[in-house]
Amino acid sequence: MHDVLDVLDGDFFRRWLTTAASAVDREADRLTELDSAIGDADHGANLRRGFAAVTEALDGSDATAPGALLALAGRQLISKVGGASGPLYGTLLRTTGKTLGDAGEVSREELAQALRAGVDAVAKLGGAAPGDKTMLDALIPAVDALPASFEAARDAADKGAEATIPLQARKGRASYLGERSIGHQDPGATSSALLFTALAEAAGGAV
């Protein structure tokens, strides 16, 4: 099965973000549960609060350019989430959005490139490397796979998130656990996978 869409306009990005917001809302308890195993039990609440603000901001904005929409969403996350994930996800979307510039439509490849810039910014801000058991472990493989298809990106993100289970955390709160962090899936990697599932859904792919 190949992607349904290859030209991504403002509607597509709105769809992505609101689908992501619903997914986060639906899965918030699971994210918090994961975060309570190796963190401080707030990841679900954090992202729910952030994405609710994103949805509200989108409703109140008549922006149509993909870049503007992502940057707007990123700013909302920075202003509303707090914690580690707020600045990180905020930076991801803001940098991706800025990289897309003010084009009215972008291709999947352009999105992949811009997301790569976003992920690089996340890595730089948080100082984490692949394998540190963070959101990067889902984001990097997903972005790598996005040129192939939305579904491939989604599946790579899922796999990446699952692959954090055997890892020992080296960044964020989970790192304090040392070896005790092994055996738990990283909440941030899990929410990253939700974002890519939402992306595939927005593109009309099988979910």
């Binding site: 918090t32 707030d42 609440a45 202003s79 080296r170 960044k171 709160r173 304090y176």
Partner: protein
């Protein structure tokens, strides 16, 4: 829990704080707590903040001789840059602002962003990172030592320096010196329950304790069968001394995590004093109480700060905040 709904816990608390403390300006909507007389002319300002659930830290330490403003985040969640920028703008007299930041990824990232934004607005900003928790040993492979009890020492002593008219670089240097000379260890006898989760954030079977716990219920060095107050004091003090190896004298904070009765905390303090005396450590100043809490966690932490004459003078200087008050 004595709450309405998890979503309004912080806003409700800020309303309640506003009504209890007319000497503070509490901006409930924007979540900033400011000294009513801010900005204080010609003085460096101190801004701190962090997740809520550690009260009286930080909002209860706003006032003459300590913080100029505090930014409370959601429970156990760092505040956002907007709050910090707003706070900085409210308290800056033109002499600059020191951000006191506990070393957690979220706090660090958000305060970093805020510092950039504030500087864009023409506010001179310095930052001091508090990282005193010796439970985190392997700081190369972690986010580094956590900021816990020493935050109180940093805020009080740097606040006194600012109050005395020291310039920003000097206040920053003093804050840094306090942090570098402080170490803490915390012990949990029960887990805490966040409003959002509604059940304990970690499993701690009764009859066991977590040595080296963080102030959000982050796990520590090890879990053991229940120990006596005496044994816990031995463990905690020795862990701190081993890392700090202080010269005399020191400041001592015996801090309750929230649900440990003052009666027990005073008894624990007696044991802490006993170990310190056995180790020939001289205590020049002491504070016993619930200052850096973890919601309803039972347990306590011990913080030592190696001081010199200057730091002791600043520690003893008058302070007038809801949570800490002496000399005025």
């Amino acid at each position: 829990m004595l709450i309405n709904v998890p979503e309004t816990v912080v806003a409700d608390a800020l309303r309640g704080m506003a009504a209890a403390h007319p000497e503070l300006t509490v901006d409930v909507e924007n979540r900033v707590i400011v000294r009513r007389d801010a900005p204080v002319a010609d003085k460096v300002a101190l801004v701190s903040g962090g997740g809520s659930g550690h009260e009286p830290l930080h909002g209860g330490f706003v006032g003459p001789g300590m913080l100029s403003a505090a930014c409370p985040g959601e429970v156990f969640t760092s505040p956002v840059p907007d709050q910090m920028v707003r706070a900085a703008a409210a308290v800056d007299s033109g002499k600059g602002v020191l951000f006191v930041v506990k070393n957690y990824t979220g706090d660090v990232l958000n305060f970093d962003m805020a510092a950039e934004l504030a500087e864009d607005e023409g506010i001179q900003v310095a930052k001091v990172l508090v990282d005193d928790d010796v439970a985190v040993t392997d700081s190369l492979y972690t986010a580094g030592r956590r900021g816990t009890g020493a935050t109180l020492f940093v805020e009080k002593i740097a606040g006194a320096a600012a109050d005395a008219g020291a310039p920003l670089e000097r206040v920053e240097a003093i804050a840094r010196r306090v942090n570098e000379n402080s170490r803490s260890l915390g012990v949990a006898l029960s887990a805490c329950t966040t409003p959002a989760k509604g059940s304990p954030t970690f499993e701690l079977p009764s009859g066991e304790l977590e040595l080296g716990v963080g102030i959000h219920g982050e796990p520590g060095r090890e879990r053991r069968a229940m120990m006596t107050s005496r044994e816990i004091a031995d463990f905690a003090v020795d862990a701190v001394l081993e890392d700090l190896r202080p010269r005399n004298p020191v400041l001592l904070l015996v801090n309750g995590m929230g649900a440990t009765p003052l009666l027990e905390l005073y008894g624990f303090h007696a044991e802490v004093q006993r170990v310190l005396a056995e180790r020939n450590v001289v205590v020049a100043g002491v504070l016993v109480g619930n200052y850096v809490t973890s919601l309803d966690m039972a347990g306590a932490s011990v913080t030592l700060c190696q001081i010199d004459e200057e730091l002791l003078r600043l520690w003893d200087a008058p302070v007038r905040t809801p949570g800490l008050r002496w000399g005025m």
